[in-house]
Subunit: 471 residues, 2 copies
Amino acid sequence: MKKDDTILIVGAGLCGSLLALRLGQRGFTVNVYEKRPDLRKVDISAGRSINLAFSDRGNKGMKLVDLEEKVKELCIPMNGRMIHDKEGNTFLSNYSGRDYEYINSISRGDLNALLLDEAEKHPKVNVHFNTSCKKVDFENTKAYFKNYNTKSEFTQTADVIIATDGAGSALRKSYYLERKFLFSFSQNYLTHGYKELSILPTENGGYKTYKNALHIWPRGDFMIIALPNLDGSFTVTLFLSYEEGEYNFNNLTNPEIVTEFFKKEFPDALEIMPNLVEDFFENPTAPLGTIKCSPWHYKGNTLLMGDSAHAIVPFYGQGMNASFEDVVEFDAVLDEEHESWEAVFKAYQKRRKKDTDAIADLAIDNFHEMKDHVANPIFQEKRKLEMALEDQFPKDYSSKYSLVTFNEHIGYREAMIKGRAQDEAILNMIADGDIEIKDNMSKEVLADALKRVQEVTNTILKHDRIAELKE
Amino acid sequence: MKKDDTILIVGAGLCGSLLALRLGQRGFTVNVYEKRPDLRKVDISAGRSINLAFSDRGNKGMKLVDLEEKVKELCIPMNGRMIHDKEGNTFLSNYSGRDYEYINSISRGDLNALLLDEAEKHPKVNVHFNTSCKKVDFENTKAYFKNYNTKSEFTQTADVIIATDGAGSALRKSYYLERKFLFSFSQNYLTHGYKELSILPTENGGYKTYKNALHIWPRGDFMIIALPNLDGSFTVTLFLSYEEGEYNFNNLTNPEIVTEFFKKEFPDALEIMPNLVEDFFENPTAPLGTIKCSPWHYKGNTLLMGDSAHAIVPFYGQGMNASFEDVVEFDAVLDEEHESWEAVFKAYQKRRKKDTDAIADLAIDNFHEMKDHVANPIFQEKRKLEMALEDQFPKDYSSKYSLVTFNEHIGYREAMIKGRAQDEAILNMIADGDIEIKDNMSKEVLADALKRVQEVTNTILKHDRIAELKE
């Protein structure tokens, strides 16, 4: 690899834009091809993931390219989950017992536009829109494109091709179909799909419900959630089975039944969603899939990054954050001064894949946590203890959620292993009556609880290692 | 569905032949298309899985079609694993403490031929060879074929198409490529491949090493195994990484290095394998993959069964057994008298998939157990205790291996959950010094050990359920 190599990036979404910006900063010649029109000129929101959760791992990417302050202006802090029950009662469950730990709602379009603007400031970075990648000849580092405006087809070679073209990646499809090497691959869909709806602002642009939370209406087998936007609106997402249960996407086919469903299950939401029926029938229903694969690269020619390598379900709010962290990790590998692109790609996958596998699994765990467990008394007791521990012993305890979301110096896999053991420890201590959780526990009582939680957690971790014959 | 429906089966391997036979017995009209020549007329062994492990779950399939006695004649009992260390020392580790529990080595070709012979005795069952399925139009229940002899291409419709065409299934490929429904799919390769070798019989047709065992030479990162054949030979399989370690498939490129590798790692095997180099360079190196997918069926038109739905790695000796059990389970669903093929297929997948997912995961566990753990002292202590418990309390204890292999009345998933908890319990009791394992433990000592193993196992199972918020 040479300092002036030409890099072709397929896809100018969040990951591709950040990657182009960072590689531009490092002095590479970068050509980016994006199938959609320039989102700074055309409104291309299609009722799908208008806003996203942005948190500490994503912010590492913004620090890397010196955009932390500019991105902060786009953020709406969400301090916790606002849980809505069927009677319309609400309670706020903070994400952390530490006040300074929270996640943010951010507009996908605004953030993507900012990254594109910054990338294009580098004269050696060029972004081409309306140009779709059809396939990649990875033996010859050559991509096949079609321009939607001119209808012309052309090929482009480069020293390296990096595909950040999302869950439907053309490069990944070429890896699979060409069968030139052993390519492990999985696509797994949940039984549930999703549909985006909205809560519009008040007449004077205010928020119709509490602004600084991620709202959840958990109903066991399905749920709606809502994230705030800067204009006073909320983007609402319904997660629902395609075919199971009394109400499902297959049978919500007319305005009456949709309204009946919301009246019965989400009455307080329905009150502030007069536009429900219109949204419901205008916006698409989309599937929820997880994609894993390996290897991510072919020799030193091509590499998958972001969703193209590891698409995940949205329930941990980590999709974008994981993709930004990909760029941070890739950048760190570039600093190691490997002798070839192949060595860079190998080192990157070795360092990174265990963590993207972990966040994929954690995201599915959180699907069940959000739609179901948050309404479970034993789960709520665990959260109460964890909040108190994080508040009283901010340096000594982090819940699984905190480990994943706010401990960006450790990888997702380490967070998963420790976080799951802690959850198992606390849930079992509660179930076995080994710990009693009250409001306003004294610091002495909490100190004792912390010690015992740590002991039980360590025993679980040790026993797991022994069971795997690793000790 | 009607009693005289026409069923098209793609693939006349072990699963397809048994299915054709059973459906013939039930009175259906059955047309089977197989891409290879008739193995009863042409020798088509290609250095790949010449013999297989046949055990109790597979035998359920033979009982179903009344072939148990005929199959027994093809079987060579293997009572345990004969472990060979680097110095040539051997020790036998039985599969069970119950004398009547053992597995068998059986010839794939002989068994397949028997099933074909029996299937063809039914006048409404017809088997067509040299006819490859190219794709399936599952909307219209139509399969596309090419005959290798006449080079002609044709299509065939039926009331139902069942694909038993193995890991490379044409129907599964059509499900994936057509994208007409959400199809979850995974193909995952191990870092290791395999190559078949052989130990030839003695001059007078005897066995060069102990006949009634599955021989293993475990070396941590790689291994060879050997299974006996009726003619006095053993089929040997080398499992080795493609690219990692001092010796791997990528660098074993000449006779000298192959011989050096065997001399160093498997000296006692090399002594009885004068034909090693010839075998090594004549036989292919093949990958080891796991395939899972869902749904297995499209409406009431088409269904995947056997390896086409769930190909697994060979380390539990359950691939064929699982496919035969598929036929038994499918037959049981047919007895339930559902109103449509769609209802049959749905009920079959609901009942069966959890178990084939489990055996896929168990088979990967056993890869690590066979190449590595069997040589681990703490693992060997566990096995010693389990043998003694099975011997002294045959009705009260079954190891994970026994649950999977010899407890054919419970499903793979139940066997996995209970077996893993038992393993965790015993390994941790040994590691924590909570149990001492000696030779010739008295019945009283063993009774106490059994009670404590059961208690710890039940606690683990309970804690797991609590951690999943299922209690």
